[in-house]
Amino acid sequence: MTPRVAELHRGHLVFSCGASLYAVPAETAAEVVTLPALTRVPGAPVHLVGVFAHRGEVLPVVDLARLSGRPLDDGFKRAVLVRSTGGAVALTATKVLGVSQLEGQQERLGDSGLQAHLRGPARAPAGEVAVIDTDGFFDFLARGGA
């Protein structure tokens, strides 16, 4: 996927998870929700911390901190609902900073795992952010997060 700097000028929803700032394109960010009690799913990997029903739909909750190998001690209060062609997931957020215009690159930040689905380096007013490649990330999840 070719990096497009121009895309960065569109609005991105910026949120933090642990010490890291992440951003998703505003058009894929369906909603910011307060996380209810979660139901654990048998046989699910650790980053899939559970599911919850939201507007008649079962949404899986993905913990980016666990996925990046840096689990947090305390729970999450909020989640950012991201929707794409591959379905919808809720990404845990320590704090949602709001919609911002980003500046920077759209290069892949890694070759494997989550890093392979993050783009950057980009900058938001709150600091450096990793932009999640939504489609690739969804594929990644559908393959079991491997």
Binding site: A37, T39, G43, F52, A53, V58, G86
Partner: protein
């Protein structure tokens, strides 16, 4: 409720530690006392051992699944679809989710789960 949702004629609601699980009644041949050869459903969550007192075996043909407690919910429920991110778990044995008493219960296919577990145990042994 989505139009694509299917309806199930009741479920068997199972408790496994602090977690929940449901199976279709049609998949259950019988409820028996735990059998050492049959896997414990807790292993699907954190691999904990079953509670010895009230544990029951949900028999399915030659295999089965041991749970801590169970009850039958006999009313029709709509089966919510599995999100794409979860379709692969337990070898695809996750059939969907039902909402009972304000909580979500993951519904698994007992035959598929038995196959997955025996395959996994076979893979582990090999």
């Amino acid at each position: 409720m989505s139009a694509t949702d299917t309806v199930v004629e009741g479920v068997v609601l199972c408790r496994v530690g602090g977690d929940r699980l449901a199976v279709l009644p049609s998949d259950v041949v019988g409820v028996e006392l735990p059998d050492a050869k049959c896997p414990y459903a807790g292993s699907l969550f954190d691999g904990t051992t079953p509670s010895p007192a009230d544990a029951r075996l949900l028999r399915h043909e030659l295999s089965g699944l041991v749970v801590d407690a169970l009850e039958v919910h006999a009313e029709p429920l709509s089966l919510m679809r599995v999100p794409p991110a979860l379709r692969w778990v337990v070898g695809g044995a996750l059939m969907g989710f039902v909402q009972v008493g304000g909580s979500l219960w993951p519904v698994v296919s007992l035959p598929a789960l038995s196959r997955h577990l025996s395959a996994r145990s076979g893979a582990v042994r090999s």
